[in-house]
Amino acid sequence: MKTLSPLAQKYIDRFDSALETLPGAGDRNISTLRKSGLEKFSKLDFPNKRIEEWRFTNLASLTKGPANEDQPSTPALKHDAFKADYEVVFENGVFSKEKSRLEKLPEGVRLTSLAEELGGGAVFSLDEDDNRALIALNTAYMQDGLCLHVSENVEVPGVLAIRFVTNSSEPQNIHIRNRITLDGGAKLTLLEEHEGNGHYFVNPVTMIHLSDGAELKHYKHQNESLAAYHIALTDCEVAANASYKNFTLTHGARLSRNEMKTSILGADALSKLDGAYLLDGNQHCDTTSLTEHKVSQNVSEQVYKGVLAGKSHGVFQGKIHIFPDAQQVSGDQLSKALLLSDEAQVDCKPELEIYADDVKCSHGATSGELDEDALFYLQARGIPTDQAKKMLVAAFLGDVLEEIENDSVRQYFEVLSASWLERV
C-alpha cells in the first residue's frame, strides 16, 4: 500500500473523534456520507504533480507539515469594506448570526447555515464518479457554510455579501460547503469574500444549481492571509436560458487554487467565467476551469488576466469540453499574463476537447512584459517611468474589470486593484 502524505494521514487518524463533534453527529445518513467521503479521500490522497490537472501546482508545502513560518500572516490588502445590502458572516468557518445582516432579504429567499441543515436531516450526496480528492475530503469534514435557496421568479435587489473571515493564532483547517439554488427565473447578485490573519488552510466547496432562466452573478474576492492556503472548488449547473456570470479577483493567500466546473445543460444558456489575479512575493495562484457543453445551442466565455511581480507563480488551466451532438455551441477563452519581474513565472494550459462539428471554439493565450513602445510613448510625454508603468498595468486590468456588470462591485474591484498596484 502506498504511504499517504502526513496531512492526509492526520485527517484519517482524527476522523473518528471528529465525527462526534462535526454537525449532524447524531444522524446516521450524515455519518455514512462523511465516512464514504473519507474512504474516497484515503484512496486518493492530496493531489500531487503527477496528476495532470495538478502539474503546475505543488501542495507539498501544505501536506508535508507546517511551513511558511516566516510568511507575513496578514491579508494582502487592507481596504474599506464593500457596502452590501445584505451580509452573511462566517468567522473561522462558523456562521455568525450576530454579525450577519439579513433582515432586508425579500420573501422567497431562504438562507440557513449548513450546520443547521445537517442537524435538521438535509440530504447530501457524494458523486461516486467524482475523483477530486478535495471534494471527498470536504464531504468528510464539512463544518459549515451557506445554504441559499431563491424561489421562482424572485429577483433579489442589490448585492448579497458572504464574508469568510478567519483569525487564527494557531494553524487550522476549515472545510466550508455552500449550496446555492436558484429556481426558475430567479435573480441574484452575490459577492463572496475571503479574508484572514494567521496560518490556516481553507477549503470552500460551492455547489450551485441554476434552473430555467435563472441568473446568478457571482463575484469572488480572495484576500486571504499571505500565509494561508486557499483551495476552492465551485461546481455550477446551468439549465436552459439560465446564465452564470463569475468574476474572481485574487490577490491573497500563499497558495491558492480556484477550480470551477460549469456544466451547461440547456439551450440558450450562458456561462461566463472572468477574473484577474495580482500576485507578488512568492505567492502561487492557480485558476483551473472546466466548461462542459452537454447540449446544443449555448455559449461560454472566459477572460482571465494576471499581473505577476516578485517570485510569484501564476497558473491558468481552462478546458472547454463539447459533448457529442452538442451542436451550435460557441466557446471562447482568453488568458493574458503580464510579468513584471525577472523571477515571476506563468504556466498556461488552455484546452479544447470537441466532439461535435458545428461549433465555434477558440482560445488565445499570451504572456510577456509591458510594451516598451507604449512605455516610451508615455515617458516621452513627461510621465515618470513608475507612474507610466502603473498606468499601463491599470489599462491592462481595466479591460477585464469592465466585464463586471454590477457597477458597485466593479468600482470596488477597481479600487482594490488600484491599491494593490500602489503597493507593488
Binding site: K349, L352, A356
Partner: protein
C-alpha cells in the same frame, strides 16, 4: 480563383484507395520472434557493431524493462504484446550489393511501384525542373540502397545507412547518437535505442550547402514486424540541408508497430529543413489493421543562429503519437513546426511539438492544422517553454482544427510555460467546420461536393503545404484528398 491542375489531379485520385497497400513477396531473414537481451545481441551482431554500441543498446534495453508504456496521450489501442513482434527482418541477399546495379531487381520493382526512383538519372515523376533527390531506401529493418553517394561524397556530405556509418564514421556516431534523445527519454525511445536496426545518417560538413535534397523512404513489408529506425543528422557550422522522409506499409489486418527516433544536431549558423509525408497504412474503414506510429523526433539547435524547420503531413497510421521538437540552445536560434494531421475513419492522432527556449533571442513558430473526419480523433498537444535565460525569446502559435462530420473529435492541449518576462508568447487556436456556405459557393460553380470539400480543405492547409519542398507538395496535396475520401455526404 481558378481550379488549379493539382486540385483536379487530386480530385481524380480521390477515388483511389490506399494505393501502397500491396505486399511484395520478397524472401526475408528474420530474428526469432520476441524481445530479450539475446535479440538485442543478435541485432548488434548482425550489424557487426562495435562493443560500445552493444553496451549502449543493452543499457537502453535494461532501462526500458523498468519503464511503463505512457498512457497520457489521447489515443486508445489494445495493449501491445512486445513478445509477439519480430524485431529484425531483412530481405535475403547473398552478398551485400556493391552498387545500385546489384540491388535485387524485385526490391527495385517495389520502389518503382511506390514511385520512388532508385535510379540516379531520374527525377521524381511529374515535376519538371526539379533537382535530383538522393534516396536512402529502408526496407523493413535494413537499408537496401542509397543513391547519389559519389556525387555527395565529392562535396564531403556523408549520406549513408546508420549501420554503415557506425563502421565508417564511428567517431561521429558515438559523439552524437543519443545526445539529443537519450535512451532514458521515453518508453518508445528506449525501445528504439535497444533494437533500432537501420535508418539514415547524414553529416554536412562546415560551410557546405547540400547540393541536392536528401530523402529516406521507409517501407514495412514483412508481417508481424516492427520497424525501429534511427535517423541522425548533423549540420556542422554554416551548412544547410533539406531532408525528406516518406513511408508506406502494406494493408494488413494486424497492427504493426513503428517506433522511430530522429535526432538532429544543428551547429553555428546551420540549418536543417526536415519534411515528412507520413502515409503508413491507416487501417480500413472499420479500424482494422494499420500502423501504430510512435515516434520521437527532436532537434538540438546548439549553435548560434541555427535553425530547424519541421514540416509534416500526417495522413496515415491507425494511431500516431509524435511530437517533433526543438531545443533552442544557441542564441538567436530558430525553430519552426508546420503540421497537417488528417484523420479519417477510426484513425487517432496525438501530435504536436515542443519548443524549449533556452538561448537569448530565440524564436519559434508553430502552425498546426488538424482535420478530423469520420469517427477519427485528432489532438494537438504542444509545449512552449521559455527558460529563465531566454531573454527576448518569441513564440507564435496557431493551431486550427477542422471537423468534417458529427462523429469525430478535435482537441487542443497546449502547455505554455513562461519564466522570462522579456519573452513573448502568443497562442491562438480555433475549431470550426466547413460551412454550408463555403460548400454551396463551390458547388454553385460546378464542382461536385467532394471536389468542393477537397478544395476547401486544401485552402485550409495551404500555409503548411507551401512549406514543403515542391516534389512533396504535389504528393501531399493529393494525399489530403485521398485521406478524406468517403467523408463527404
Amino acid at each position: 480563383m481558378a481550379v488549379s491542375q493539382e486540385t483536379i489531379e487530386q480530385v481524380n485520385s480521390v477515388s483511389e484507395k490506399y494505393k501502397y497497400g500491396f505486399v511484395s513477396d520478397i524472401e526475408s531473414e528474420t530474428a526469432p520472434i520476441g524481445l530479450s537481451e539475446d535479440i538485442v545481441r543478435f541485432i548488434s551482431a548482425k550489424k557487426e557493431e562495435p562493443e560500445w554500441l552493444l553496451e549502449w543498446r543493452l543499457k537502453a534495453y535494461r532501462y526500458w524493462l523498468t519503464m511503463e508504456e505512457p498512457d497520457w496521450a489521447k489515443v486508445n489501442y489494445p495493449k501491445i504484446d512486445y513478445q509477439d513482434i519480430y524485431y529484425y527482418s531483412a530481405p535475403k541477399v547473398k552478398d551485400k550489393p556493391k552498387s545500385l546495379d546489384e540491388v535485387d531487381p524485385e526490391l527495385l520493382e517495389v520502389y518503382s511501384k511506390l514511385g520512388i526512383p532508385l535510379k540516379e538519372q531520374e527525377v521524381l515523376a511529374g515535376v519538371e525542373g526539379a533537382a535530383n533527390v538522393a534516396v536512402d531506401a529502408v526496407f523493413d529493418s535494413v537499408s537496401v540502397a542509397t543513391t547519389f553517394r559519389e556525387r555527395l561524397e565529392k562535396e564531403g556530405v556523408i549520406f549513408c545507412p546508420i549501420s554503415e556509418a557506425v563502421q565508417t564514421h564511428p567517431e561521429l556516431v558515438q559523439k552524437y547518437l543519443g545526445s539529443v534523445v537519450p535512451y532514458t527519454d521515453n518508453f518508445f525511445g528506449a525501445l528504439n535505442s535497444a533494437v533500432f536496426t537501420d535508418g539514415s545518417f547524414v553529416y554536412i560538413p562546415k560551410g557546405v550547402r547540400c547540393p541536392m535534397e536528401l530523402s529516406t523512404y521507409f517501407r514495412i513489408n514483412a508481417a508481424q514486424t516492427g520497424q525501429f529506425e534511427r535517423t541522425l543528422i548533423i549540420a556542422d557550422d554554416e551548412s544547410y540541408v533539406s531532408y525528406l522522409e516518406g513511408c508506406t506499409a502494406p494493408m494488413r489486418d494486424e497492427n504493426q508497430l513503428h517506433a522511430a527516433v530522429v535526432e538532429l544536431v544543428v551547429l553555428d549558423n546551420a540549418e536543417i529543413k526536415y519534411s515528412t509525408v507520413q502515409n503508413w497504412y491507416p487501417g480500413d474503414e472499420n479500424g482494422v489493421g494499420g500502423i501504430y506510429n510512435f515516434v520521437t523526433k527532436r532537434a538540438a539547435c546548439r549553435g548560434v543562429n541555427s535553425k530547424v524547420s519541421w514540416t509534416q503531413v500526417e495522413t496515415g497510421s491507425a494511431v500516431t503519437w509524435k511530437y517533433p521538437s526543438c531545443i533552442l540552445q544557441g542564441d538567436n536560434s530558430v525553430g519552426e513546426f508546420y503540421s497537417i494531421a488528417i484523420t479519417n475513419n477510426l484513425q487517432q492522432a496525438d501530435t504536436g511539438t515542443k519548443m524549449i527556449h533556452l538561448g537569448k533571442n530565440t524564436s519559434s513558430t508553430i502552425i498546426s492544422k488538424g482535420i478530423s473526419a469520420g469517427k477519427a480523433q485528432s489532438t494537438y498537444r504542444g509545449l512552449v517553454r521559455m527558460g529563465r535565460k531566454a531573454d527576448g525569446a518569441r513564440n507564435h502559435t496557431v493551431c486550427d482544427s477542422l471537423l468534417i462530420g458529427d462523429k469525430c473529435g478535435a482537441h487542443t492541449v497546449p502547455y505554455i510555460e513562461n519564466q522570462n518576462r522579456s519573452a513573448k508568447i502568443e497562442h491562438e487556436a480555433t475549431t470550426s467546420k466547413v460551412s454550408e456556405e463555403q460548400l454551396f459557393y463551390c458547388q454553385q460553380r460546378g464542382l461536385s461536393e467532394e471536389e468542393s470539400m477537397a478544395l476547401i480543405v486544401n485552402g485550409f492547409c495551404k500555409e503548411v503545404l507551401q512549406k514543403l519542398p515542391m516534389e512533396f507538395a504535389v504528393e501531399a496535396q493529393k494525399l489530403v484528398g485521398i485521406s478524406l475520401e468517403g467523408s463527404v455526404g
